[in-house]
Symmetry: C2
Subunit: 188 residues, 2 copies
């Protein structure tokens, strides 16, 4: 039931907005009582926080599995991070929408749990970039922090436009972005 | 007065959210009456639409001035589009925040005015990419639409993190992004 409450809320928050969705709306869709809601969550804010936490923790888990694979070069790790993010849009797209748009509704106490994880997500990408610069796979004349923000721009923005059932597959889009970031778009 | 109402609303919408800001909040900050508000705008929705329209129209105007400059190569045009967007964050950052976050509060009739302009912004970048592919400045083995979305990811995302008074200037960040997109991050 806890999972159903979360899934239903993600739908409603994405569609109507966090403020515009009442606890009654959520339990109404599930045909349960408010009591059921309060058995699992103290408030709508706590639920929102849980959505954010689960979203970022899954991202981190996937990302850190890629980072930990010592058989992979930094270039491969970069490719796999890009692919995984785009691949997950189908499953995680609504959750991401709620994450980016509704984060301002979290209280400072709740944000304290989220911000360090969000920062870690960025730092993990930067770690791959820096390692690649050290071992000669990436050029070392560009600042790794700005390069990282460029990479995150390309991937995070795709949440706003990528259609999982569209013309190009997740694998194709990831390959194009990887190629563009690695070799650039200038003609030889 | 119309400009003050708009500037004040952008501040409040960015800070508190569109739904959470009342017309009373806006006129209260300006020490005027609701009558003054209604002299200029029929509703809060109309004001939001005006904010969006002005934002996207200015972006288009700047972008199309760059495109029209025949003395510039496609590479230079791409650089200038990136620079102009990052340069404008200081001035347009709040407006952009309201644009991206509150667009769902616009009615379909209002969206009809915005969407074609937003699409044109993307098409203009794609036009530079395609022209550069034709004239041999950009490689032609990547699909121009996805390349364009990658470029827009890099620039649009910077609205979420670029600090105009931070360590790196708008010019430096734009130069790094341009270099990264043009030549890639792989070591020679």
């Amino acid at each position: 039931m806890k999972d159903s409450i979360m899934e239903q809320s993600i739908q409603l928050f994405a569609q109507k907005g966090f403020k515009e969705t009442s606890i009654q709306d959520i339990v109404g869709e599930l045909n349960v009582t408010k009591g059921t809601f309060y058995y699992y969550y103290k408030s709508k804010e706590e639920l929102l926080m849980d959505i954010h936490l689960q979203y970022i923790e899954r991202l981190l888990e996937n990302q850190e599995a890629i980072l930990a694979d010592e058989s992979k070069s930094c270039q491969q790790k970069l490719h796999d991070i890009i692919f995984k993010l785009i691949h997950d849009i189908e499953k995680e797209g609504l959750r991401a929408k709620v994450f980016f748009r509704e984060i301002r509704h979290l209280s400072p106490q709740h944000l304290e749990h989220i911000i360090p994880k969000r920062d870690r997500f960025k730092e993990n990408v930067q770690q791959v970039v820096e390692e690649g610069m050290r071992n000669g796979q990436f050029r070392s004349d560009l600042p790794p922090d700005i390069v990282t923000l460029g990479i995150l721009g390309v991937t995070n923005w795709s949440y706003f436009w990528f259609q999982p059932n569209g013309e190009k597959s997740d694998r194709e889009v990831a390959a194009i972005f990887y190629e563009m970031l690695i070799n650039g778009i200038k003609a030889e």
